[in-house]
Amino acid sequence: MPRRRPTLLERQRRRLVVPFLLPALLLYGLFMLYPAFTTFYVALTEWDGVNAPEWVGGGNFGRLLDDPLFTSTITNTIVFTVLGALVLFPGAMFFGYVTQRLRFGRFYRFLILAPVALSVTTAALLWKFLVDPNFGALQSILHAIGLDSLASIELLGRPSTAMLMVVLATVWHGIGLWMTFFAAAVERVPAELKESATLDGATSFQVFRFVVWPLMWEVTRTLLVLWMIQGLQTFAFIIAMTNGGPLRATEVIGTYLYKVAFASSEFGYGAAIAVVLFAAILVLTLLSQRLTRRESEQY
């Protein structure tokens, strides 16, 4: 069927869109596209941030392949993201579901959401001092209740526990937001479906598992992608709590990139790391979208 030629009015309407879009496009171009393309360019140079960059082509990417420090940051970043998801999602889902059913649910949700209002630095320092072996409140409490052996554990000073502490701090700070998303998803599930299941003799867990959970899947997979992006980009909690230590056990791509660029003034190499991170996020997002796709439930 031949394509219909747009009428004069339609063409004028389309033209009218351009001036309205232009300011946003300009800002987007200036603050998003321009820096992004500049980063790609810088990644192909050796640049100390002051003197003129020197073209090295793919040299920085070749160096990445031989950099054991970078390899270890990839492992740590994956550990952070997976560990974080394992703590965050069950917790957020639990609070999102349970606070819907409790009498003062809104109040509890407010309490869980409250840490989000703190800046990341404040939250990180709070946790840092909470577990400080010399002056930390946690250690004092453990001593007071006779758990001296537990109190002597340097939670941020041991490679085996430091990452877990950073994950707990990150999750504690943000879980309220994720809980709110899940609570909203639970609210969307029609009450009659849950009532029918209950009348059929389903327990609360069964109602959640077989009725609510399948209907929340679309929201969950979106949140999984968001967490994955956040996890791969993680930076602030780690820089404030451990600075990548102990023994580089919490050094992730974000903190390594920062140190390469700003402490060692190797902006070309830092930009190459940023490009790889960008590519990894893009590929993993597409992959996870594909792998978690299910036929959506209609209700």
Partner: protein, 454 residues
């Protein structure tokens, strides 16, 4: 939308973007400074000083609310009263805020007075100096300085001058000197009948006495590697010497084969194996470690001379602190008297808007009255001649007066690549964390430095 419309839209967008870019970059073209000063602003030639006006932005190494920021605020008020046309703004730019200041330099909008931006250890002074972005102070340094005999350069302690110069060119004005040494709790030492250790064996004996008395001999942070590194740096300086260590860091020689290297590693392992460090040190940050010293939980801390000024608000009124240099080692083939240290040099950004006021500020900071107030107020060490050293640092000033140079703090590795830093620091941390022994530390460090050098 037809092709012509798209082209037209693109052309308009491009024109607007180009004009925006022009707006942004035009500030790089050496636009007119705000200052209204003219001629020589130093007032050093005997003529009436030129009037200085305009805004002056000074970077503070410590944040607002800290004792040092308050000190600078007082100085800024005094400076403004002397120069009624000048408004001084203090901007925090220490620690992790340094990249923000660097970003402003790159954008052509640097503060006038800054810390850092000069690496005296590098042959070319580092990228900012070699890039022509740091103003040379050579000419003004040859002029007389109020309160001192001779020129400004003459007023600076001879041992400090190399730290502010690159070749024959002076780029920095020292605000103070920093050194790394032991601080000790004098009351605990007196109680336990311990004298400040002279040799490494004395240090170990003192540590044993303290440990037997239930007092942790040392406190240190396990989360900030440069502070762990100081123990190795000193042992390596005493056993190996500065030149050998610098060559090893540069990958020019194999560290493990250097005379004294094995002994230095063995001594460090001895300190770690002795259990002399405060319980939990692996998990505390440096503030907490320093606090534990002033709370009497540990008797000694190896730290920079800034310790007293930095912790002033937290030091109990009756706390008695003493200092002693890192002890000598028997049979060491290195430098037994060497001292790690540096200077808090301030530089003027070439592209800043009010360089005259900046130079006037640096001269003002150097005045004897302000230097004496700095020493009394912070316990820091002045970089100028004739200024009395704070108690415990008299030897440092005497040494610098004789022209002896410092070994560079942290062996100057903090500006090097992450590969070099990791190769040098991680094995030390692993030894402190009990994961490897001294021999393994030495091998790993040696191999790592060679690999990092390519």
């Amino acid at each position: 939308m037809n092709r012509r419309s798209i082209l037209r839209g693109t052309a308009v967008a491009t024109a607007v973007m180009l004009s925006l870019t022009a707006c942004i970059t035009s500030s790089d073209d050496g636009d007119e400074p705000e200052t209204e000063s003219s001629g020589d602003a130093t007032g050093a030639t005997g003529e009436e000083p030129a009037e200085i006006t305009g805004d002056l932005e000074v970077v503070s190494f410590y944040p607002e609310g800290s004792p040092d920021h308050e000190r600078l605020t007082g100085l800024a008020d005094e400076f403004e009263s002397r120069h009624p046309g000048v408004t001084v703004t203090l901007t925090f730019g220490g620690g992790q805020d340094t990249p923000q200041i660097e970003a402003r330099w790159r954008a052509g909008d640097p503060p006038e007075v800054n810390y850092g931006f000069m690496d005296a250890a590098a042959a070319d002074g580092g990228p900012w100096v070699s890039g022509g972005q740091v103003m040379s102070l050579n000419d003004v340094m040859q002029e007389p300085l109020e309160g001192y005999d001779g020129t400004w350069e003459d007023a600076i302690l001879p041992g400090v001058r190399p730290l502010i110069s690159v070749g024959d060119e002076i780029y920095g004005a020292p605000e103070s000197v920093t050194t790394l040494q032991f601080f000790y709790n004098a009351a605990i030492f007196e109680e336990q009948g311990i004298e400040p250790p002279q040799t490494f064996e004395d240090l170990v004996a003192a540590a044993d006495t303290l440990k037997a008395a239930g007092i942790a001999p040392f406190t240190v942070t396990g989360t900030f590697l440069p502070y762990l590194q100081m123990y190795w740096d000193y042992l390596a300086l005493r056993h190996i010497g500065l030149d050998g260590l610098q060559q090893a860091i540069a990958g020019e020689t194999e560290l493990a084969t250097l005379p004294g290297a094995a002994e230095a590693a063995a001594d460090l392992q001895r300190l770690v194996d002795g259990g002399y460090f405060l319980d939990g040190f692996r998990g505390v940050d440096f503030t907490s470690a320093q606090m534990s010293f002033f709370q009497g939980d540990a008797a000694m801390i190896l730290m920079g001379s800034w310790l007293i000024g930095e912790m002033a608000a937290a030091i109990p009124a009756d706390f008695q602190v003493g200092t002693f240099p890192f002890p000598t080692v028997d049979g060491g083939s290195g430098d037994q008297e060497g001292l790690f240290g540096g200077t808090n040099a301030q530089v003027v950004a070439q592209d800043s808007e009010n360089t005259d006021a900046a130079v006037a500020w640096l001269r003002f900071i150097a005045e004897p009255e302000n230097q004496n107030a700095y020493v009394e107020g912070t316990g820091g060490i002045s970089a100028y001649t004739g200024i009395a050293a704070p108690e415990g640092f008299e030897d440092v000033t005497a040494m610098l007066e004789e022209g002896a140079a410092f070994a560079p703090s942290y062996m100057g590795i903090l500006a090097l690549s992450q590969e070099v830093q990791a190769a040098y620091q991680q094995p030390i941390a692993q030894l402190f964390f009990g994961e490897i022994d001294g021999e393994q530390m030495l091998t790993q460090m040696s191999d790592g430095l060679l690999a990092a050098a390519g």
